[in-house]
Amino acid sequence: MIYRQGIVIGTCIFIAVVVELSLLSRLGIPGATPDLVVVTVVAIALAMGPLQGASAGFAAGVLIDLSPPSDTLVGVNAIIYLVIGFIAGYWVDPRDRTLIIIMGITSLSTGGAAFATAAVDTLLGGSRVNWAEVPWITLSAALYGLLLTPIVVPFVGWLVKKVTPEMSFS
């Protein structure tokens, strides 16, 4: 059971990282890059639960920190995504899960992730963050998270049900 969950999580995360870095970030969209990885982490957390969400967030964060062309500190995204995965899995009541609420959660998560990355980087002494750009990046990240939700969340939910039917969480 746990292996199959691991395989689902690993595959989703890997595909999300590759698509984000090779496709979405190259589209030249204004503002932030559509954060497919965070949306995927939230989708996994909603479909499987807080522990799986947190693990998926940790794995995704480490992978995106290590994969080229990343030049950020290893572990920053890991801890941010971990917290997001946990919160999304833990605090959202399964009975509340209408698409509107889910879209709200993902857009809060993607916006929050962008803001948290800027904040943590500045706290740790990085000089790259231009705070004049942060509100716009955060807002656009939230908007793109909102738009990705209706595609990603149902697909991950369907995949989880298909591959690990024993998960009764959703």
Binding site: R26, G75, V76
Partner: protein
């Protein structure tokens, strides 16, 4: 409520992430260089494949981005467009790429740079605030750290990390990037640094009394041994100068020639020219005749050190100032 096992796993993950941050904060090569190399060798191949699969999509956005951003190029683009729209999307994409390669080869041959062509296969997400891209050339192609990266329009950045078949390039608009620049046709030198915005750089003059005007072109000053920056590469055009002559800090805003948001074919300068090409590489260089003449006596000087240049300057300036007037082609 959470079970004991869940809490233990969560605590472990949190501690692990914090440990990573602390280890990586210590700087230097750190324990992550081998991990990064391993991930890059796996992901590099996947990203290369993905870049090929996605190339019609990214190629389209490149075409679209140029259309939207640069109204000055609309006329040439409309001509190109009429030609290209008769062909398939795939063919359009290939032709655009070949043109970029041609432009790159032109820059390389005019300045006598030896370049290794490469393609951008991944771009860092904007919310990292770092402007870095991955290219599909690495140590196997002769790429080393701190080599200059250019494209058909001018300077793009420098190689930050290099792996077997891929390399990470930090773009010149990255807030942590700075390049020695020189005003084309004069001897004014200064530091060009990134601002984190894709269409503006800051040029700070070293000499507060120096002369710099909107419309001036900035080229690289060149580093010792051509690394990290080869001399003579076009960086951008001055669009605005703040502060009066003699003020303590004179800062000019520079618009880079290379559109870093739409990179596809780039070249890594594996060997800089033996002599500083001076201003011959600037965008209006097809009109080679006027710029070549003053350049010839200059190239006898083997050092790229512009401060020690003799009095030839004045002539040079007069002859070369018309050169950067039209970077639009």
């Amino acid at each position: 409520m959470l079970s004991r096992r869940t809490k233990i796993i969560l605590a472990t993950l949190v501690v692990a992430s914090l440990t990573f941050v602390i280890l990586d904060l210590r700087g230097g090569d750190g324990p992550f260089s081998s991990a990064r190399a391993a991930v890059s060798s796996v992901l590099g191949g996947v990203q290369r494949g993905a870049a090929t699969v996605f190339s019609p999509v990214t190629g389209f956005s490149e075409w679209w981005g140029t259309q939207v951003d640069q109204s000055g190029q609309i006329r040439t683009l409309t001509d190109d467009n009429a030609l290209l729209s008769t062909q398939l999307v795939e063919a359009e994409n290939d032709i655009a790429r070949a043109n970029e390669l041609d432009a790159l080869l032109r820059v390389a041959s005019v300045g006598r740079y030896r370049v290794v062509p490469a393609e951008v296969i991944a771009v860092g997400p904007a919310q990292d605030f770092s402007w870095t891209v991955t290219i599909d050339a690495g140590t196997l192609d002769g790429v080393e750290e701190d080599m200059t990266v250019i494209n058909g329009d001018g300077l793009v950045g420098r190689v930050l990390k290099v792996y077997n078949s891929t390399a990470t390039v930090v773009l010149l608009v990255d807030p942590e990037s700075s390049v020695g620049g020189r005003v084309a046709g004069s001897q004014e030198i200064g530091i060009v640094s990134g601002t984190g915005r894709q269409n503006s750089l800051q040029f700070q003059l070293l000499d507060p009394l120096g002369e710099v005007n909107a419309g001036d072109a900035i080229v690289t000053f060149g580093s010792k041994g051509g690394r990290p920056f080869a001399p003579g590469l076009p960086i951008g055009e001055v669009v605005d100068v703040s502060g009066t002559a003699g003020a303590l800090a004179r800062v000019a805003t520079v618009s880079p020639y290379a559109d870093v948001s739409q990179l596809s074919v780039v070249g890594v300068v594996v060997r800089p020219p033996r002599e500083d090409p001076r201003d011959s590489v600037l965008p209006s260089a097809p009109a080679v005749a006027p710029t070549r003449a003053p350049v010839a006596p200059q190239t006898t000087d083997p050092t790229p050190d512009a401060t020690s240049k003799p009095e030839v300057v004045q002539e040079d300036e007069k002859a070369a100032t018309p050169a950067p007037a039209e970077p639009g082609n």
